[in-house]
């Protein structure tokens, strides 16, 4: 499976490889430049493992000034740069290319400041998502966005992709929880955008940096919002006889004005895969499962649950199972958050990430099943139903090129369906290389031209993560 193209490596860069490596070695402290081919292998791909390219070198700077020095150098000599956090991108956002220097932020992993009076944390970009919540947990706070990869993924990567997670229904995604960044522009200029104030003056540059997929600059520090942790939280399992009923139940809960912290959906294949892995106690005799998490005091959770149970009853809910202990609750979430990994144990898969309007959930689930069946493949659905962010996992055999091509084709059809019903190609994983060539299905030429013009305002020579997001054809000269 190698249909998605990359830009042709610049021969002017490849031919100067030794010189570039020598210069970067000089620019950085000892041990901060990886350039032996064997040592470059761990950087050749990310979590979108079907594609891989060995980079020219990997810089692992320890300070913002070192990031700036590397960018300034690469800018001067026209060397492409691919920023990298933990390399957990599902869309190929961190996959390098042969003529690129990877700038990895893994050595910048210090928490710089925790300010409870203002409810902010300022951290270096290489700090993991979970480490922020862990650092403030004892004081009763947490950082809200929680991608499934939160144990590994970094805040810098989260900002690059505007990551979401299961609990975004109530608390929003990265962009809604980000107050400021230290940003290094492609020419090495260091900017401070935003800070501890809730709003910054001028154009909302922070807003476009977040989700910029490493094309606009490299974030080295971030100030994020902390939230007081609720008194209690309880996931409850709702089992249904059909995906349609579960989907309709989600739409009705939201329509009734009830916003739980999370509403996660699993169909039967996903339930079986996750249960076999996590032994979470999921009911096995249902076709679809919702994990609904409510939070607050005991009284609040009871009140909200009563309303949700009443609505589920109108949709023929078959099983309602409340977690009885913190251990049970943790297991329920472990099963859900390990869905991708657990699926990977039984088959190769590609994971789609389209978002659809809630009212379209049942129709898109049906459409997804039809598309996958047409290609003779299997699908497991496990996703954030409350905000319509779907994750069909298309199962295939990566050793069979025909099977792989079918999976990619089915995935593309599903994403087009998402767009056609009023949704979008990607809700939280990013475009990367994976969805790049579908961008024209969602956007007109004028829409894309405007985005590319903004991109060029940050990086006129298209050196930063150049093979990503925008179709390779039709780019400005």
């Amino acid at each position: 499976m190698d249909q998605i193209g990359f830009l042709e490596p610049r021969t002017s860069v490849l031919s100067r490889r030794r010189e570039i490596v020598a210069d970067l070695v000089d620019l950085l402290p000892e041990g901060c430049l990886v350039h032996e081919p064997r040592e470059l292998v761990p950087f050749e791909t990310d979590a979108f493992v079907s594609y891989r390219r060995l980079p020219l070198a990997v810089a692992l700077p320890e300070t913002t000034q070192q990031v700036a020095a590397v960018l300034k150098y690469c800018h001067r000599y026209g060397v492409p740069v691919v920023p990298r956090g933990a390399g957990t991108s599902l869309s190929g956002g961190a996959i390098p290319q042969e003529d690129a220097v990877v700038v990895g932020l893994s050595k910048m992993s210090r928490i710089l400041d925790v300010d409870f009076a203002n409810r902010t944390a300022t951290v270096q970009a290489g700090v993991t998502n979970l480490a922020i919540s862990e650092a403030v947990s004892a004081d009763g706070y947490f950082y809200a966005p929680d991608p499934s990869s939160q144990l590994a993924c970094t805040i810098g990567g989260n900002i690059g992709m505007n990551s979401g997670g299961a609990h975004c229904l109530k608390y929003g995604v990265t962009t809604n929880n980000l107050l400021g960044v230290k940003l290094v522009l492609v020419d090495g200029t260091i900017l401070d955008l935003g800070g501890k104030a809730l709003d910054a003056g001028g154009l909302d540059l922070l807003g476009v940096i977040c989700g910029g997929e490493g094309q606009l600059g490299i974030v080295t520090e971030a100030t994020v919002r902390l939230i007081a942790r609720p008194e209690g939280a309880r996931p409850v399992l709702f089992g249904f006889d059909s995906s349609e009923e579960a989907g309709a139940c989600v739409a009705d809960v939201i329509a009734a004005g009830i916003i739980p912290v999370a509403i996660e959906f699993m169909d039967k294949p996903a339930i079986e895969i996750c249960e076999a892995f996590a032994h979470a106690g999921y009911p096995m005799d249902v076709e679809a499962l919702l994990i609904v998490e409510v939070e607050g005091s005991e009284a609040e959770m009871e009140a909200m649950l009563a309303s949700i149970i009443a609505i589920a009853g109108r949709h023929g809910v078959k099983v309602v199972k409340e977690s009885q202990s913190a251990t049970e609750a943790a297991l329920i979430w472990k099963g859900r958050k390990s869905a991708f990994g657990a699926t990977g144990r039984i088959a190769d898969y590609i994971c789609m990430d389209g978002t659809v309007p809630l009212g379209q959930l049942p129709a898109v689930l049906r459409g997804t099943a039809e598309i996958v069946e047409k290609y003779g493949l299997r699908v497991a659905n496990v996703f954030h139903a409350g905000d319509g962010n779907m994750h069909p996992l298309i199962l295939f055999n990566a050793n069979d090129p025909e099977d792989a091509a079918k999976a990619e084709a089915a995935g593309n059809e599903i994403l087009k369906l998402c767009v056609d019903v009023g949704g979008c190609l990607t809700g939280e994983h990013g475009v990367g290389i994976e969805k790049r060539d579908l961008m024209r299905h969602q956007y007109s030429d004028a829409d894309l031209a405007q985005q590319m013009a903004v991109r060029a305002a940050f990086d006129a020579q298209w050196l930063l993560n150049p093979s990503k997001v925008f179709p390779l054809e039709g780019r400005p000269a």
Partner: protein, 402 residues
């Protein structure tokens, strides 16, 4: 009189801008014209969005609405009220403090990122904005974002347009998310705290798992001008709770017991709460019919009272605080004292200050928006040029620059 162009469709707006871009005739973009006292620079016509009127789609079950940019805010809010939904960020109405007339539009709300008390916990206007359609400076019709809650497909131009004060493009249509109107609300009032004590009390309240949805401090100088003087004597530190009745009752008890150590605590019920927070939102005490300089300052929450305390030593100011202290409504006695204010904003950790009101000649002579560093200015101009290469759209936020 400045000529006003009021296209009645997106296509008409696009043609108008295309023609103007050939002759390089500049525009100042305007919605209802209620949020700014800045006039128009010489030679610029007004490009009004008011002709782009009407709700395009309202899907209560999906909690989203799409409306043309010139749709009056009151029309949007009336439609939402029928379904017991609302804009989470509580857009303010500045007509009182600015003495402006006209009808606020939904496009104007987003173009100025006009956010009220709930911004503290529910995000700003920009956080509710899901998608936009706009006409850029070349006259091209462009869409960005969409109508779903989670969308990371391409660059987030929606955020750039929100709060751009007409500097990048003419918004023609906006799609935004909604929230259900809470079943009930209540306000816990802690009386007679000084500004520093109030900052500590509000920080404590926000650290508790009681979901305070608004935290403001109304010093004694303004307290009597809220809800007809019905708040207890002395300064009032006010904390709003919203949600299901049973839940508000429980949380209210917790909050009352936690606030007891700061001062005398009382409780305002739903009706009073509604009125109080509307008046906080609109800076009602400063709707005083005067042109005395009025600033809206955003700093770190704990820094708000430090800023005011520092200013008080040097000049006559009156102030009250929203956003846990992080939004300061600041009225100067006579001179706007821009240099002094900006120096202290920087000294307390940074933020931004916008001069909303002053005598016309003072406003014209003062940099009303927060000055930016050279590097950010340079980047801003490049971004501006990427939407509007010939500098057609003039905005006070970018200093009327092209």
């Amino acid at each position: 009189m400045t000529p006003i162009h009021e296209p009645l469709s997106e296509d008409a707006a696009s043609r108008l801008v295309q023609v103007a871009s050939l002759s390089k005739s500049p525009f100042v973009i305007r919605g209802g014209g209620t949020r700014s006292l800045h006039g128009t620079p010489d030679g610029a016509d007004v490009l009004s969005a008011r002709g782009l009127n009407g709700i395009v789609a309202y899907n209560p079950a999906e909690m989203t609405m799409t409306a043309r940019a010139g749709t009056p805010l009151e029309v949007v809010e009336a439609a939402l009220a029928e379904k017991r939904q609302m804009l989470a960020f509580e857009p303010n109405d500045l007509r009182g403090v600015l003495g402006s007339s006209g009808i606020p539009t939904i496009g104007g709300v987003f173009a100025t990122n006009a956010s009220g008390p709930r911004r503290l916990t529910a995000g700003a206007a920009r956080d509710s904005l899901l998608g936009v359609r706009f006409v850029n400076g070349k006259g091209e019709i462009v869409k960005a974002g969409g109508r779903v809650m989670k969308n990371v497909t391409g660059l987030d131009l929606v955020k750039l347009l929100a709060g751009s004060h007409g500097s990048l493009a003419l918004l023609t249509e906006v799609t935004f998310r909604l929230l259900p109107v809470p079943e009930t609300s209540a306000t816990i009032v802690v009386s007679d705290l000084n500004d520093a004590e109030a900052a500590a009390a509000m920080a404590t309240a926000m650290s508790l798992p009681v979901e305070v949805s608004g935290a403001a401090h109304l010093p004694e100088s303004v307290r009597g001008r809220f809800i007809g003087g019905a708040l207890p004597p002395g300064a009032a530190t006010v904390l709003r709770l919203e949600g299901l009745s049973a839940s508000v009752t429980v949380r209210s008890e917790k909050l009352v017991s936690a606030m007891g150590r700061f001062g005398a605590v009382s409780r305002l019920e739903a009706e009073g709460t509604k009125r109080l927070w509307r008046e906080i939102r609109d800076a009602a005490p400063y709707a005083d019919g005067t042109p005395r300089p009025l600033w809206r300052v955003s700093v770190a929450p704990i820094a708000g009272q430090q800023l005011v305390a520092a200013l008080r030593l040097e000049t006559g100011v009156d102030a009250f605080y929203d956003w846990q202290g992080g939004l300061v409504w600041l009225r100067m006695e006579s001179d706007p004292e821009a240099a002094l204010l900006r120096r202290y904003v920087k000294a307390v950790g940074g933020g931004h200050a916008t001069l909303l009101r002053a005598r016309p000649e003072v406003l014209a002579a003062t940099q009303a928006f927060q000055p930016q560093t050279e590097a950010i200015l340079a980047l801003q101009s490049r971004v501006k040029a990427s939407f509007d290469p010939s500098g057609l759209f003039k905005s006070p936020m970018l200093g009327w620059e092209g």
